[in-house]
């Protein structure tokens, strides 16, 4: 039985366990219908031209983990941003771990999707926001919608800001030979509110894991959202991350994606600007080796005038890795005075590495400034020679240059401890110890 059939038949079992009276039931039914019709995307589809899901579909993933599992904090401490105090929403094999988590209802709601979907007190928010910006057409998103049950629920009311950043962590313990996870997150930031979120998926064994995650983010007027995605998973783990962001006037949303690990990572990042004077920023650093594959697929839809978007993705590809960048900017007819910038720089350090990039502009308004730039190149030999002539070994010199290359993106990380952590990850990935933090 292939994965699609398995998922569809599992849906029946899944539905029997949840409340069919809930209005979300209809949303799920609608969603599974769409998935059933479309199935997994194939390479024939333009959006999936460079990323194949065929090999993943051959794996016999278990869709519901059989038993609960616990892990000791000391074993996973290093995956947390333990240097500072944070709110934590932790899932183990898709199941919420109250032991490792730290949630709150003090002024803001930082809790669980399962609670939000079932408890009447959240109904108002769910009715307004749940599945409102996520695509109802894209097959993997609807697959997630159909199985939406658990994930992070974050609601920041007007003029509020949580005292500390929020970490969302997903651990896979390897209890199952192969596990498929479908977390569903909803983040609502009301007027003048602000939030910082760090998301990480981590497998603790070498068993196969496939995560198909959907995150919906709503930023109301003057809302500020900082979202950091750390993708440094085990080599057997695959992640399909679908993030949908709906922004209202004058809101500022920044998404940083750091992709260093995993077998296959696909980031679908979609921004919809429903207001004026919005700022949308998406930045990413990708450093790959082995046979890793990362696909950054972004969309910025400029719907209203006077907005800005900034995109900056840096990639360093070694060994037999493959990088894909597909950035799309759409500027609607009425979205005059739009400034949209897109930058994608890549370095290939191996002959077997591949980079496919497609920066795409679709512009229907005339009074706009839109540009995109894309480069594929190597490290500057002269600079490398300069550093070596000053006694820096070649390996370190190369790492230093790569640091510099990625630094533009790191500069805008607003949590200092996180910046240090990412620097360490980069050093680890490049196999050097520079003895200082940038």
């Amino acid at each position: 039985m292939d994965l699609k059939d398995k998922l569809i038949s599992s849906f029946m079992a899944f539905e029997n366990n949840v409340d069919v009276e809930n209005p979300v039931h209809d949303v799920r039914m609608e969603a599974i219908k769409n998935f059933e019709e479309k199935g997994f995307p194939s390479k024939k589809e333009e959006a999936w031209k460079y990323t194949s899901l065929n090999s993943l579909q051959k794996i016999d993933f278990s869709i519901f983990p059989k038993e609960e599992n616990t892990i000791e904090y000391k074993d996973v401490k290093r995956y947390f941003l333990h240097e500072i105090d944070t709110y934590k929403i932790v899932f183990i094999d898709g199941i919420y771990s109250s032991y490792l988590s730290e949630t709150t209802h003090d002024g803001v709601d930082i809790c669980l999707m399962s609670a939000a979907l079932t408890k009447p007190m959240y109904k108002q928010v769910i009715d307004v926001y749940f599945n409102k910006v996520a695509s109802k057409e894209e097959s993997l998103t609807t697959l997630n919608t159909a199985f939406s049950k658990e994930g992070a629920y974050i609601y920041i009311p007007k003029n509020k800001m949580p005292k500390k950043p929020i970490e969302i962590l997903h651990f896979a313990t390897g209890n199952e030979a192969a596990l498929m996870l479908q977390p569903r997150n909803l983040i609502v930031v009301e007027e003048n509110a602000e939030v910082q979120i760090i998301e990480r998926h981590q497998s603790l064994t070498s068993n196969e894991v496939l995560t198909n995650s959907v995150t919906e983010i709503f930023a109301a007027e003057n809302g500020i959202v900082d979202y950091y995605k750390i993708q440094n998973d085990a080599p057997e783990s695959s992640l399909i991350d679908n993030t949908y962001i709906n922004q209202k006037g004058k809101s500022v949303v920044k998404v940083h994606t750091f992709s260093f690990g995993g077998k296959l990572t696909r980031n679908n990042l979609n921004f919809y600007q429903n207001g004026e004077y919005i700022d949308s920023t998406m930045k990413g650093v990708t450093i790959l080796g082995d046979k890793q594959h990362v696909d950054h697929h972004s969309l910025v839809h400029h719907i209203e005038p006077n907005c800005e978007s900034h995109q900056d993705y840096k990639g360093i590809y070694g060994d037999g890795s493959t990088g894909v960048f597909n950035g799309k900017i759409i500027v609607d007819k009425i979205a005059q005075k739009t400034n949209a910038f897109q930058q994608n720089n890549n370095i290939l350090i191996s002959d077997k590495a591949t980079i496919n990039t497609k920066p795409q502009l679709e512009i229907f308004a005339d009074d706009v400034k839109c540009s995109h730039g894309c480069t594929i190149g190597q490290l500057d030999e002269d600079a490398l020679f300069y550093l070596q002539s000053r006694g820096i070994p070649k390996k370190e010199a190369r790492a230093l240059l790569m640091y510099a290359f990625a630094n533009n993106v790191l500069e805008s990380v607003r949590i200092p401890e996180l910046k240090i952590r990412i620097n360490k990850l980069i050093a680890e990935k490049l196999g050097v110890n520079l003895g200082f933090d940038l």
Partner: protein, 481 residues
Amino acid sequence: MAYTEEELKKELETKEYEYGFYTDIESDTFPNGLNEEIVVAISKKKEEPEWMTQWRLEAFKAWKEMEEPEWANVHYKKPDFQAISYYSAPNKKPKYNSLDEVDPELLDTFKKLGISIDEQKKLAGVAVDIVMDSVSVATTFKKTLAEKGIIFCSISEAIKEHPELVKKYIGTVVPQKDNFYAALNSAVFSDGSFCYIPKGVRCPMELSTYFRINQAGTGQFERTLVIADEGSYVSYLEGCTAPSRDENQLHAAVVELIALDDAEIKYSTVQNWFPGDKEGKGGVFNFVTKRGLCEKNAKISWTQVETGSAVTWKYPSCVLKGDNSIGEFYSIAVTNNYQQADTGTKMIHLGKNTKSTIISKGISAGKSQNSYRGLVQVNSRAENARNFSQCDSLLMGNECGAHTFPYIEAKNKSAQIEHEATTSKIGEDQIFYCNQRGIETEKAIALIVNGFSKEVLNKLPMEFAVEAQKLLEISLEGSVG
């Protein structure tokens, strides 16, 4: 160059050379529709050898299995391929008896382009009553070319006279099964040009199609094959700046260029077919497959100015097979009213130290849609490949659209690829500056557009460049309110 200003002037004055090569086929138009019999009949009509007929049939078989591509960013009512007549004798009957009957708008355009009265008549399909002193010029040209061993004739003639060359090269760059329209063209191509430059020969003049064949009749499914043998050079001009009101709605041409070791081909196109009226009615569908193959140290340079056609679907490409080969693509695409253009290039880097440059300028006005679609592919064995691409779009008015779809695929670590794209409108301050110096707005825009397209216009052969510049002005006329 054995080709002086005087001669050039003469040539421009008397563009009647068509008769020099004109093959008279007395025939009726074939019935509408396409099947194997029609393909065989076309081949027979052209007195083609058996292998050619078989080649066409193969293409037809492939075409039947294919589907019309839908990935391009254009929307149109698909032509009914069974409602087209695939062969009609060149129409010799003049459409009009005198210039007075011709659409004054068309004449106005001619005047602006500075086209001589005689030529105007020819282009508008007016009966020309004086036989001009053209044959001699054509003969002189023919003689010069023959002396150098250059073969330049219609493709039908080449199939008969030089079958060994045609057989060897046709379909090697654009195979019959390449795509839907290429397959269709391979099956039913009516005529086209063939050009062969022998080893080490530098073609002394710009080869141009419009002094060779009867323009009016060949249109629909043109097939061009240009072969530059080792160390040779040729500059080839296609099309015409003057607007041609062609009745054929569908054009599916195929152009194959082969540049052998150390050869260089420069291919320039000006396309100005009927774009449809202001409401977007009518207009030509232009679905062209153009591709060149570069062997060692060879160079192919495509330059195009696209202002006509209701729908354009065209990607002149270079396969950089040989080491050190160079591919270039310079393009200006102008769309106005309801025109749609999806054009760009493919640069396939296979050999070592290959270089490619892409400069694409898109100008959209009115309610038109203008897309750049390009592919730069560096294969794993293409060491030190270098590419530079620049795509600029200029938008006029808020009802048009500009789109960029650049695909970049690199599989070699020594590849250096740069891509840049910008979209903007004409700066109000620039127009203000011109106005202030007494240049009216319409002129100011022409000036700015010319500056915007300069990089590409510069690549055109001189006489073309002047006309193309004027053409840009005319195409954008009335687009600024």
